[in-house]
């Protein structure tokens, strides 16, 4: 082998020639072929792969939609209707993109919840978790700007309300809002820059996803037991075991996705967005898309403008410091009998916020939103820091293999000896 070439294990001469000069095949084999993955994943571990697929679907459909979309206040609404009526399969591509946004948030919310339940944010995966929060923020910005593009009533008034949030900033708020708008109201300059950024940010997300995955492949995956693999008997090669398991999840995911697209494509949207934007008339009841409702509820729960904005952004920013708020050394909630109950209550509370966010901000709804906001923050700021000291966790299993295969599974004996378990890894 010539000096300077990578020592490639591949036999196929073409693959080998490339791999010696740019070892992408070696990398794929290492990171997605033989990559040692805890053997005890449940279906919650599908959702990272599903999110990745969803991102690709959004980019593919978005690129094709932008071939037909016109980013101008006078044409945007009509160009979207043209996509629905005249462009070949335009209705399909738009409905996939539209419902793909909802699917993306469903998948990512489950993915985040998986992290909360199994303690995936704890050392050594803090940075991995924080990169995930960055992706979540970028997703929210992208989704918000995408919703503005059809230039319907909800687009326009959603954009107006959300950009006005920044006017709460003391002293410079007003100037910042004018800067965001590029004028004195949400208008054509705003639409143009939102389209530009809506096209840009998904590729930024791709970049951060790459970092997210790179960080994951340094620490390795967490697992439902929350204990680290101690050796080959605790892991399986990623391929074929988890490529297949992810494929099973994908089938279910696509079934739900297809059901939304083909049978209830507008169920998660708002009919007012099929009315062209009218800067002179606000709809009676403005609500954001469903995935923003919990945070919208927090915004409205506070009777002070700046306070509401701070708490709303704080409700996501708090996730950045979660690895240090949770003082328990035990990752998985399976072994935290008290914290588990609080997390389930917090989860129900999240749905309460989502429900109340869609209600008018009046009467007892405000009180419910306020109580739910307190519960949301109390979990992070009071319950998790305190439980780390007060709670007595259940005994952790000795190893993943022991817990999964039963007490009789000893190294070199038992039903699946280490040698057999390791065999597919050598081959793959």
């Amino acid at each position: 082998m010539a000096i300077g070439l990578h020592d490639s294990p591949f036999k196929n001469p073409v693959i080998r020639w490339v791999d010696q000069r740019l070892p992408v095949f070696t990398m794929m084999q290492k990171e997605y072929g033989t990559f040692p993955t805890p053997r005890n994943f449940n279906y919650f571990w599908n959702f990272g792969a599903l999110a990745m697929i969803n991102l690709l679907i959004m980019i593919a459909t978005g690129v094709f939609l932008s071939m037909h979309y016109t980013a101008h206040t006078a044409y945007a609404f009509d160009s979207v209707e043209r996509i629905m009526r005249d462009v070949n399969y335009g209705w399909l591509i738009r409905y996939v993109h539209m419902n793909g946004a909802s699917m993306f948030f469903i998948v990512v919310y489950i993915h985040i919840w998986r992290g909360l339940y199994y303690g995936s944010y704890k050392a050594p995966r803090e940075l991995l978790w924080m990169l995930g929060v960055v992706i979540f923020l970028l997703m929210m910005a992208t989704a918000f700007m995408g919703y503005v593009l059809p230039w319907g009533q909800m687009s326009f008034w959603g954009a107006t309300v959300i950009t006005n949030l920044f006017s709460a900033i003391p002293l410079v708020g007003h100037d910042i809002v004018i800067w965001l708008w590029g004028g004195f109201s949400v208008d054509n300059p705003t639409l143009n820059r939102f389209f530009s950024l809506h096209y840009l940010l998904p590729f930024v997300i791709v970049g951060v996803v790459f970092l997210h995955v790179a960080a994951l492949h340094i620490t390795g995956s967490n697992n439902p037991l929350g204990i680290e693999p101690k050796g080959p008997q605790d892991t399986l090669p990623f391929h074929p075991y988890y490529t297949i398991k992810d494929s099973v999840g994908m089938v279910a995911y696509f079934a739900v996705f297809a059901f939304l697209v083909f049978f209830m494509p507008n169920y998660l949207g708002h009919p007012d967005n099929y009315i062209p934007a009218n800067p002179l008339s606000t709809p009676a009841h403005i609500v954001p898309e469903w995935y923003f409702l919990p945070f919208y509820a927090i915004l409205r729960a506070v009777p002070d403008k700046l306070g509401g904005v701070v708490l709303m952004f704080g409700s996501i920013a708090i996730l950045f410091v979660l690895p240090w708020l949770d003082t328990s050394k035990v990752r998985s909630m399976r072994f935290r009998p008290i914290a588990r109950i609080f997390l389930l209550l917090w989860t129900i509370n999240f749905f309460v916020l989502m429900w109340v966010g869609a209600k008018p901000a009046e009467g007892h709804y405000v009180l419910i939103a306020q109580i739910a906001t307190v519960i949301y923050f109390a979990y992070f700021l009071v319950v998790l820091p305190a439980l780390g000291r007060l709670e007595k966790p259940l005994p952790l299993p000795e190893s993943i293999a022991r817990a999964v295969l039963g007490p009789n599974a000893t190294l070199g004996g038992g039903p699946v000896p280490g040698a057999v378990a390791a065999k597919p890894m050598d081959k793959a």
């Binding site: 053997r39 009526r85 462009v87 070949n88 057999v420 597919p424």
Partner: protein
């Protein structure tokens, strides 16, 4: 999980046995069947998903709806030419003089690079209707306005690469491979045509 591993390990063994059994006739295994059907199914699925994306780039229905143009011929005097848009391209409509018709019909087919009779190109000899796009690389030839150069054959001349067309719009000299194209058109009345 343990069961899965054993099954796969056994299947691998079966594959290995099958491969070593016959000389050049490895026995097809259940796994081969599963791989083939899965791959075939995935290929069909990918094709079905990719097709709408490709189709979306074809002309949309509103574009197709604009695929015909009507033109009133009555204001066009003898010797005059007009240019109309059809599918985003110029269409040359010329009310030819008797001299132009005679010149076009006098040319023997053997002199033509792309042989076509004038009768076939202009069923009503006084009206010549053609797509005004040079068949070389798509420029619009000159010759519609009285002040334009008309080339060596008194028809049209493409300034991009020097193609000369005669009074029937046939290529006579220059790099263009074929005559100016005749669009589909019909006379709705003696003074009204529909192109497309």
């Amino acid at each position: 999980m343990g069961g899965d591993i054993e099954v796969i390990a056994m299947a691998e063994m079966v594959t290995a046995q099958g491969a070593s059994q016959g000389a050049g006739q490895p026995e097809a295994t259940k796994r081969d069947f599963l791989k083939l059907t899965t791959t075939a199914f995935a290929a069909v699925g990918v094709g079905a998903i990719v097709w709408p994306f490709i189709a979306s780039m074809n002309p949309a229905r509103d574009v197709l709806a604009l695929a015909s143009t009507e033109l009133d011929l009555s204001p066009i005097a003898v010797g005059q030419s007009v240019t109309v848009m059809w599918r985003g391209k110029p269409v040359f409509v010329r009310h030819r003089t008797p001299e132009q018709i005679a010149a076009a019909r006098a040319v023997p087919l053997s002199e033509l690079k792309d042989p076509a009779t004038d009768e076939s190109r202009a069923p009503r000899p006084e009206w010549l209707v053609m797509i005004g796009v040079c068949t070389h690389l798509g420029c619009v030839p000159l010759g519609q306005k009285p002040t334009d150069p008309t080339g060596d054959f008194n028809g049209w001349f493409c300034p991009c690469h020097g193609s000369h067309y005669d009074t029937s719009g046939r290529i006579r000299r220059g790099p263009a491979p074929s005559n100016l194209e005749i669009p589909p058109y019909s006379f709705m009345s003696p003074t009204q045509i529909r192109i497309g």
